[in-house]
Every structure is written in C-alpha cells, then in structure tokens.
Symmetry: C2
Subunit: 217 residues, 2 copies
C-alpha cells in the first residue's frame, strides 16, 4: 500500500504564506501525495507549481463554516476550478441540516456540483456537530446531490475524524462513493486505522511524517 | 453609557440554526444592540426579522480565514448588502500580509469597499497571528483602503482581543476611525476595559449577560 496516494497534503491555516504553499507543492511532488489542499486564493500558485505533474489540486468552498450563501459557494467553486482546481471540498450548511431543512441542504450541494464543471466534489459534513442520525442524513443527501465524497471534518470544529464515524459513513454511502477522513490524523497508525474503517482518502497536514513513518515501518 | 449600543450581538458558529438566529434578532430588539452579526446565509432572515427597527445587520466576508479570492470576497460583500446587510466584516489576507504583499492586501480590501456599495466596512486583522509591527501595517492599510473599522479577531484563531492590541490599534488609526474588539469579551468588566483601551464597538456572543451585569452594577 502506497500511503501517500491516500493523502491530500493540506495547508488551510488562515496565516499560510505563499512560501509555505510552494513548499507544500514541492513536498507533494517529492512524496507523490494524491493532492494538495489549499484555500482558493492559492490555487493559481499551485497550478503553476504543479504543472505537468499528476498531483491534483483540491480547494475549499464555504470553508470552514458552511454558512455563506449557496450562490457564493457556487461562484467560489467555479472560480477555483477555473484557476486549476481538480477537486472541491465544500462545507455543507450545518445549521440548516440540524434544523432539518433537507431540501435546502441538498440544493446547496447540487448548486456547487453544477458550478464545479465536473470537478470531484467532497462534502464536508463536520461530524463534531452531528448526532449519529444527522451523520446518516448528511451522507444520504451528499449521495443524492451528485457529489463524489463525504468528508468528516474541516479541522476547525472541536473534534476531527473518529474511526466509528468513518465506519458509519462508509456503511451509509456504500462501496462506490468516496469517504475522506480528516482532522487529527497525525501518525501512520492513525492513517491505517482510518483506511481500515473505510476511508479512501485522508486529509493530513502531517503527510510527510506519515510517509516517512510508513517507509521506516 | 449605554453598553448595548457598543455591542454587535454575534452568532457566527458553523452550526447556528435559523431558530437561534431569530432569537439573536429578538434579543437585539429587546436590548438595543448596535447590530446583529451573522453569516451571509442568514442575512435575509435578519432583514425580515429586524424590519422597521434601527438595529443594523452585520455580515462576514471571507470569514474566518481570509484566504479566499478577492473576487469572491467582493461578490460575498455585494450579496450580503443586497440581502440587507448594513455592515461588512471582511477578513484581511493574513498570509499575504505576513509575506509583505502589501499592495495585494490593500487591493483585496479596496475591492470589498467598492463592491459593498457604501456599507460600513470592518477589516478583521486577526491579531493572534500578527506581530506588533504587522498589526501597525494592517491598521495603516485598512485606513488607506477606504474601510471604516479595524477589528481585532475572528474568534476562530488561538486568541481574541487584548487590551494592549486595542490600544495600539486606536493609536495607529487615530480618533476618527473605528476600532472593534472581539473574542473573549465575556463580562461587563471586559467590555469596559476594551472601551477604555479605545474600542468603539465590541463583538460579543455574551451581550445579553453583559447588559444585565451593567444594569445590576
């Protein structure tokens, strides 16, 4: 198993600098990560840095709160794709999910799918805020909305990925949909536990250490 | 001193529900806060709820990371104003400030000022990430960009408002520009300390308790 191919090499801190983003891209090239995951303003820089490589570029939409308007989420996705992003990680509207406005939550995702012009869509459901039943609802809605992945966490809530949540998400979405675990995956053992639970992609800022650990193991 | 008039009654949690936002508006009407501060998707609900009152509506842009594109920040501001927001709180691009791309940081703010169609513009500089010198730079840039306020914090970083930062910000921007303190203002004593340091607006989720404390004091 090449663990690097599971990892979205991620730097979405508010204070990330262009030099740090360039370094993120260089590490992705060196270690062969699945993608780099960055905030929208850094997509053009990644596009330039990763030209002629097979490293994908992921960018975030409505991140990390999910409470901007549907129209802005769509425009942000379209802009990121236009700037070179291959994968879009959108925040679901958590407050409206909690309030059972399921039609709205679905429409919000569908609009992003539509505007993202064929890019892979990961829906961040932010498990830290959700009950088991709401995690199930969120997964069903993501599948019905034409997205490609459900993702556990933005890393800006009180907790990140939990093995039991990843297992549940995989069970709900079935074998042919993506499940991404993120938040608190700091070691090779953490990464393997998430993959065994059903994740087929991992969001990590510690990707380099995880790959080094895997090679040493 | 009517402390309520200093307070932006704030609910920008990712999982805030429509009922909680309605309650926020009702509390603003009851206590006479300066504004309610909400995520963009909730502006229309506030507009309806606060119709024919003098409570302003504040909404956030590029929040809380500041690392989306300038174009999206502008569109988000224009959308919020169109939906009824009177005040826009935009996140400055922290990573590009740290990297000394001052022209970009200024342009980013100017674009929001331009798109916000006369709304009051508060620039969140996120002091937790900044050195003293960078706080000074951020304040100068905000003044030069045509904004109306500098604001200490998004409340999503490691620290909120500090008295010494508010003093510094007031000193740099002078007496005729706004300074908003936010993050960790939980008591009437906290609120008074920030006002004495130079803040003329406060962002609080504990506004109701603060007003009650003020009346009891």
């Amino acid at each position: 198993m090449d663990i690097a191919k599971y990892i979205d090499h991620t730097l979405v801190r508010a204070d990330a600098t262009p030099d740090e983003i360039r370094n993120l891209c260089d590490e992705a090239l060196e270690y062969g990560f699945a993608s780099v995951c960055v905030n929208p303003s850094f997509v053009p820089l990644c596009t330039k840095r990763l030209l002629e490589s097979d490293i994908k570029i992921s960018s975030v939409v409505g991140f990390p709160l999910g409470a901007t308007t549907t129209k802005i989420k769509g425009a942000e996705a379209a802009g990121a794709v236009n700037d070179g992003a291959h994968e879009i990680e959108m925040m679901l509207h958590i407050g409206l999910l909690k309030a059972k406005h399921y039609d709205f939550v679905k429409y919000d995702i569908q609009h992003v799918v539509e505007k993202a012009d064929g890019a892979l869509i990961k829906v961040i459901i932010e498990t830290a805020f959700l009950t088991t039943l709401k995690i199930i609802d969120a997964c069903h809605i993501a599948v019905q909305s034409g997205a490609d992945f459900v993702k556990t966490s933005s890393t800006y809530a009180s907790a990140g990925a939990k093995v039991e949540d990843v297992k549940l998400m995989r069970e709900v979405v079935g074998p042919n949909f993506g499940v991404k675990a993120s938040g608190g995956i700091k070691t090779y053992a953490d990464a393997v536990a998430m993959i065994e639970a059903g994740a087929n992609r991992l969001g990590c800022s510690a990707g380099v250490q995880i790959v080094k650990e895997a090679k040493g193991a």
